[in-house]
């Protein structure tokens, strides 16, 4: 694999808060990544460091084989429109397109205007007067039309209705097929993008929890439901992420649950197995198990 990005031991501290803690990974060329994690997990900070917009406290980042900070050769191949991107007070949507055309080498004006029409972005409107959804649409449009070899989308769905989100996913896939590049999609709507992303990076409280192929991940966890003793028998020797009781039955989330004999064992114990969706897996991995006592959870049902 040709690495477009390599991060080694990246740590970022804000005072006594550690936003990123010793994060290491690599991003391959021509791949769509899902950067997943809860609010405040460190996703935006990580993307800012990868694009030279923020500085790591320690660790090394290399983008296109060079440090990205203050490096025009690297940044000319990078596009990162932050979710909280600030636009100048006097800028209209048209101004954003004009400046993007001058600053991004691969900018496709026709594509940008097509996207703007699809998202019904009013060209003459001041950016500060756009709704949340339109602001997202503007960021998405810039990100797509810039056709940067390394493109980041930071929670691009905010304020977008399902139809507009689908439009974004469709346009992204179509344009990615025609112009392959490395895309990093930071999102919470994991099931929505689970067919789109090829690889998953999961950060939680500043630490990288997962860096795996999306396909492998989808088969990695199962929910095992059955009588308590039966589930205990099945779960023995396996990593149990979570357990809940429902009307006499026990439902256990098990990581790496599907070995060659697992299905037969489950059948013998009368335990029902169902694969966990990517979103469920991420929830199970990132929700601290002690926040709600099992009894409370039962009561909440």
């Amino acid at each position: 694999m040709t690495a477009v990005v390599t991060a080694h031991g990246v740590t970022k501290r804000f005072g006594d808060v550690t936003a990123l803690d010793d994060v290491s990974f690599a991003l391959a060329e021509h791949t769509i990544y899902g950067l997943l994690g809860r609010n405040g997990a460190g996703k935006t900070t990580l993307m800012q460091i990868l694009t030279g917009q923020a500085f790591a406290s320690s660790g090394n980042v290399s983008v296109f084989d060079a440090p990205p900070v203050e490096n025009p050769a690297v940044l000319s191949k990078v596009c990162f429109v932050r979710e909280s991107q600030r636009y100048p007070h006097v800028y209209t949507v048209r101004h954003v397109f004009h400046t993007a055309r001058r600053l991004f080498a691969n900018w496709d004006d026709t594509f940008a205007h097509g996207l703007a029409a699809d998202f019904q972005l009013p060209a003459g409107r001041l950016v500060r007067r756009l709704s949340r959804g339109m602001l997202s649409a503007l960021g998405v449009t810039v990100g797509l039309a810039a056709r940067a070899p390394l493109t980041f989308f930071d929670e691009p769905y905010l304020g977008l209705d399902p139809a507009a989100r689908q439009l974004f996913y469709d346009r992204l896939l179509a344009d990615y097929a025609a112009h392959p590049r490395t895309v990093v999609l930071s999102t919470h709507l994991i099931d929505e993008v689970s067919d789109l992303v090829e690889r998953v990076l999961l950060i939680d409280r500043g630490r990288l929890l997962l860096d795996e192929d999306a396909d492998d991940l989808r088969g990695r966890a199962v929910a095992a439901t059955g009588r308590a003793e039966a589930v205990d028998g099945f779960a023995a020797g396996r990593t149990e992420l979570h357990r809940e009781r429902l009307s006499g039955l026990v439902r256990s989330t098990i990581l790496d649950g599907l070995g060659p004999h697992a299905k037969a064992l489950a059948q013998a114990l009368n335990v029902e197995l169902e694969p966990l969706s990517l979103q469920q897996l991420v929830v199970r991995l990132t929700v601290p198990p002690t926040t709600t006592a099992p009894a409370d959870r039962e009561a909440a049902r």
Binding site: P72, L75, R82, R86, P88, V90, F104
Partner: protein, 231 residues
């Protein structure tokens, strides 16, 4: 250089506002000065020098500060480096200073042609410019403008790094330092020597030479600050 020019064009959408506000505020300052001179007008009086041109300095500082704080976060999001941004804004400062200087030269000519607006009010003309050649005249307006614009950019970069607190703390520090220096000069009875030194300077040094050094110092400060700025 081409990239720097492209980055500088990020300011284009703001130009109508910058020019509009700057010169309408100047017009107001001019009008008020003219009214007060008219109110005290006496045929026998000599020429009144108002010093109202200082308001242009204040406006230039404020405009540069606002421009930096508004556009830098956007530029960073458009994959522009901090270095490119600073050089572009320095270029804009030079262009704007020369343009304003040309306008001021023109207004000075009008002022002299109209017998100081018919009221012997010296607004655009400055006393030590009396026998300046055209080049020195242009520099005499442009270089101090350059100083002010770079001061504005410096304040903007302070804001980028440490917010309003940073700007206010730096201003407090600067005023304290200047105040203490003034007290020290008084204490040691050095004002006379400083006055002599100023009189010894050639008009070129006074209007352009020394101010260029001040602008360079501001620019060095602003550049250093912006290199570690985040949006």
């Amino acid at each position: 250089m081409n990239r720097i020019r492209q980055v500088a064009r990020l300011q284009m959408p703001a130009w109508p506002q910058i020019l509009g506000w700057t010169w309408s505020m100047m017009a107001v300052a001019f009008g008020i000065n003219l009214l007060s001179v008219m109110a005290n007008y006496d045929q026998g009086d000599g020429v009144t020098t108002t010093g109202g041109l200082v308001s242009l300095c204040g406006i230039a500082i404020a405009m540069a500060t606002v421009s930096v704080t508004q556009i830098f976060p956007y530029a960073l999001g458009m994959s522009v480096t901090r270095r490119e941004f600073y050089l572009a804004w320095s270029l804009l400062a030079v262009v704007q200073s020369v343009l304003y200087a040309l306008v001021l030269c023109l207004l000075r000519a009008v002022e002299q042609a109209t017998g100081y607006w018919g009221m012997r009010m010296r607004f655009f003309d400055l006393p030590f410019m009396d026998d300046a050649n055209p080049v020195l005249l242009l520099l005499g307006y442009a270089v101090p403008m350059l100083v002010m614009t770079h001061l504005g950019i410096l304040l903007g970069t302070l804001h980028l790094r440490w917010g309003t607190t940073g700007v206010l703390a730096s201003l407090t520090l600067a005023f304290t330092a200047l105040g203490l220096a003034a007290a020290l000069i008084t204490w040691t009875r050095q004002w006379h020597a400083i006055g002599r030194w100023l009189l010894d300077q050639s008009p070129t040094a006074l209007l352009a030479g020394w101010p260029v050094l001040v602008a360079a110092a501001f620019a060095a400060g602003g550049y250093t600050l912006i290199r570690r700025a985040t949006a």
